[in-house]
């Protein structure tokens, strides 16, 4: 009898958020292939990928990638994965598949895998020794699913990201009937979204936001701008519905937002009368009260449309007194200050800015504690492995599972890289740990910026850098010229620079007088002498790079 090995591999501070490996003997399926966004300490890094090492070593075993929904943190790493390993099939629901196709197309990777549609209503598909069944779940992007992953090792349910919205905008509710049916069949292990496990109660329906739009927008006499996540198709639909009702034209500003809306329209996920949409270039033809502008930048991203509008620096859109800006999103932790700046800028221009704190213009896409309890009741799993969350959230989810009657020894809090083994008739347990670091994408480089480079960037960012260039006569006996000093990020000019130059000369003379002429030693003495001087004078520790050249 073979055990199933479950290995969460991606997520920055979160477990199994971006990628989870399911391995049965020599067959692997990968659930999600998403990316994380760098934190402040990842200076200069653009994206953070899961660690593909485990998969690269077993590339021949990979049968498929199965995606739960189309958010970047669940699909964004797919192009990078496909460059490293051959993946025969990628399975996903319709919208997710289209979003992925457009992404692979941009990366020139359309021929590298076969895209296959997962239709929840069609029942299970067989992928090698796995049977995979999708269950519709409500979330902040349409076509999200949970996965039932069956194999000889047992029946595992992976919820993906979800909330239990009984009145979603697209009509695709969380399919509680099917969840109950799977629960009746018996669930050996539940991997459940823990994002809001700490929050009591129930997340409000997406419809609440539409209601707010219907209350707010008709009374407005200036422009209405709405900014949300580019993938929040329901949110766009609700905004557009109100625009149609009050006869405003809708312009879309921001490349990825426009792309997503186009894909969603083509698939019938967004319904807009043809003459409602206008091109950005035509904005000037309409008066403020005839316009609704959907724009990217709800996280205060420096080069996004909304940020440029807030600084009065957008080529097509301006904001003035009488306009209303609705920020229909929640700050991702770490983005708060940037969003505050955007709100201040827009307010200074005269706009009224509505956001989560002062109007009901956003709801979460993740279920809260009572919804997690509902899932536990419907599925009645024998064991639970909380995923998708920081440790504190996993711990809160574990408490909910315990309260729901799951025995403590059947609740596993794993970390990225933990190998959780599921064997029929036994509780799951962590049997080993594999490498699950982070891979940084910086410019074109994938994985070439590592901890040493980041540590150096951090050092440089704190106190700057000082370069000392000293030249020695070839016989190593005399300095061939005065040392050159270049400081950046501190003391770029001024008396300290002169003092450091004096110190460099002093150290050099002293070394030569003492017959210290090995270049490595000279560099060390320069480094230490100048470092001490700078520290004494300023309490700073710039990076000091001495170069000694024999000529």
């Amino acid at each position: 009898m073979t055990s199933l090995r479950i290995i969460p591999l991606g997520g920055l501070g979160e477990v199994g958020k971006n990628m989870t490996v399911f391995e049965l003997g020599d067959e692997i399926i990968v659930v999600d292939a998403g990316l994380a966004f760098p934190r402040d300490e990842h200076l200069g890094v653009d994206l953070v990928l899961p660690d593909f090492g485990y998969l690269e070593e077993r590339a021949a075993n990979i049968r498929a990638v199965v995606l739960t929904h189309g958010h970047e943190d669940h699909v964004g790493a797919l192009p990078y994965l496909l460059r490293e390993v051959r993946v025969p099939e990628v399975w996903a629901t319709k919208l997710t598949l289209e979003l992925v196709a457009s992404k692979l197309d941009e990366h020139g990777l359309m021929r590298s895998t076969e895209l296959r549609e997962l239709v929840p209503e069609d029942g299970a598909v067989e992928i090698g020794r796995f049977r995979i069944e999708a269950i519709r779940m409500a979330h902040s992007i349409p076509d999200s699913v949970a996965l039932v992953i069956e194999s000889e090792a047992g029946r595992v349910v992976h919820t993906g990201d979800y909330k239990i919205d009984h009145t979603p905008v697209d009509g695709f509710k969380t399919d509680v009937g099917k969840l109950a049916e799977v629960g009746n069949r018996g669930v050996d292990l539940l991997l459940g979204d823990s994002t809001n496990a700490e929050r009591p109660g129930v997340t409000q329906s997406e419809r609440v936001v539409g209601e707010a739009f219907r209350q707010i927008i008709p009374a407005r006499t200036g422009r209405v701008l709405i900014s949300s996540f580019a993938s929040n198709v329901h949110r766009m639909q609700q905004a557009i519905d109100v625009a149609v009702q009050v006869e405003r034209k809708v312009a879309v500003v921001g490349r990825s937002l426009r792309k997503n809306i186009n894909i969603a329209r083509n698939l019938g996920y967004i319904d807009v009368p043809e003459d409602t949409m206008i091109r950005t270039q035509r904005i000037d033809e309409f008066r403020p009260h005839e316009l609704m502008i959907l724009c990217a930048g709800s996280q205060g991203e420096p080069v996004s449309a909304l940020t440029r509008i807030a600084y009065n620096d957008h080529p097509a859109v301006k904001v003035e007194r009488g306009d209303t800006v609705i920020i229909s999103a929640k700050p991702i932790p770490g983005n708060e200050l940037k969003i505050h700046d955007t709100i201040n800028g827009l307010t200074k221009l005269g706009a009224e800015v509505l956001h989560e704190d002062n109007a009901p213009v956003h709801v979460s896409g993740h279920g809260k504690a009572e919804e997690l309890r509902t899932i536990l009741s419907l599925l009645r799993p024998r064991a639970v492995m909380p995923v998708h969350g920081e440790y504190r959230m996993l711990a809160a989810h574990a408490r909910l599972a315990q309260e729901a009657g799951v025995p403590s020894d059947s609740i596993v809090i794993a970390e990225n890289g933990s190998v959780v083994e599921l064997t029929p008739g036994a509780p799951p347990r962590i049997v080993e740990h594999v490498e699950a670091g982070m891979t940084f994408v910086d410019g074109l480089g994938v994985g070439d910026v590592q901890d040493v480079a980041l540590r150096d960037r951090r050092h440089l960012s704190e106190d700057g850098v000082l370069i000392v260039v000293a030249t020695l006569a070839t016989n190593g006996s005399v300095a061939a010229g005065p040392p050159e000093l270049i400081a950046r990020g501190f003391a770029e000019t001024g008396p300290l620079l002169d003092e450091m130059r004096e110190e460099a000369r002093r150290v050099l003379d002293q070394c030569l007088a003492d017959n210290v002429d090995e270049i490595k030693l000279l560099q060390e003495h320069l480094h230490d002498g100048i470092g001490q001087l700078v520290y004494d004078r300023t309490r700073r520790r710039p990076m000091i790079l001495p170069v000694v050249i024999e000529v």
Copy 2:
């Protein structure tokens, strides 16, 4: 008849938060002298001071600094100000004065000014041509006051930071009676705290937190740790009261926290039975359920007690399963991720962590919209200048003032550096702008790190630095040796480094062949050639520093 000039000078993104100048002819009083904490983009900066330039140019005119309360953002810049200009008197209430005295003592500045106690119950004091009267206001530190500033130009009220707490812990309520009396006398201009102007309703009483402590702590069987701002004396008192009741000993961890508690005890602002407090060294003598530990670090500061405890790296305090940590504070925007890390660390160690999101363990120190309306009703000011807040908050406060009947042309939204002129019988107006930049404190340096250095630090932090050292024979005709390259923060080793070295040599040879031998030009060519190569290969733009040496 002389006009009063009011000039907000300090605050990072906030107006008049840290310092406001009141100038009447050749007499100046300064209200508050606080500092701001650097934002992420202020790489390596420790503190941000208000711009003292205006005061330095008029140093002989300064009569006094008057402080509204003892928080760092209102008193922390005083030592730096006293080093730059002579201030004959510093006025403040008892606790504020003691906190300031201890600060000046540390900076060796006790003899540089006269500290004078402001007693709200004693009525007005005369400072030159100003009459200053203090009114007790409730806030998150005891002994906070509003100031009534009277002169021939009119009667101005500056609220300081406040909430209207009818049941504060220290018995010093916001003195609504006196506010009403001042309102009856007639207020020409109100400078009012705008921090929570956007939030509807009323801030809860400090007593609510004590109630939460009384509910939470008695049931706990492990250690109880409580972390709050070091100056929140009421909060400490309420925690200590529960400790006494459940017979736990109290240890204080963190230098500034201990200092503040000592000052508050000596003045009678904290009441603790002698045998309740224990030294940190004695913690090991007690069992977990006999201990309450008050500790610094509620903002996730990297070297604070709570952070070290969360990483199991504190010499005296450890946390384990069964312990409870109460974070009795709100994240200052920008600190969210650090606090999340702390909570995750503590949860991993097994502690239950209670914080604002999951328990009523914190209330704000600033009044919300209804309290601002109450102040407007009590004072009925002829004109309003919202202060203490980002632009969006000032705008919200302005709306409240308008709704309260203050005419639009008598509401002034100023920026730092705006000179607001108040002349009897006329609405206040902005007449000019003076320099009001930020002064950075970095290590021992005050003001020596400026925008250029910060921009360079930012550049260095994004993509690192490359140093290219080339040597030329003195006649400038041949390269005297191969170029030396040092990369930090990118491509520190590997093929790209070799390729860049080749490019440097190629550029150099080309230049010499073309008879380009001016050092400045050679450096430019090296910079551009290598920069282009790096960008083509990596899409990165490290800082490139070429050094060409003639030998």
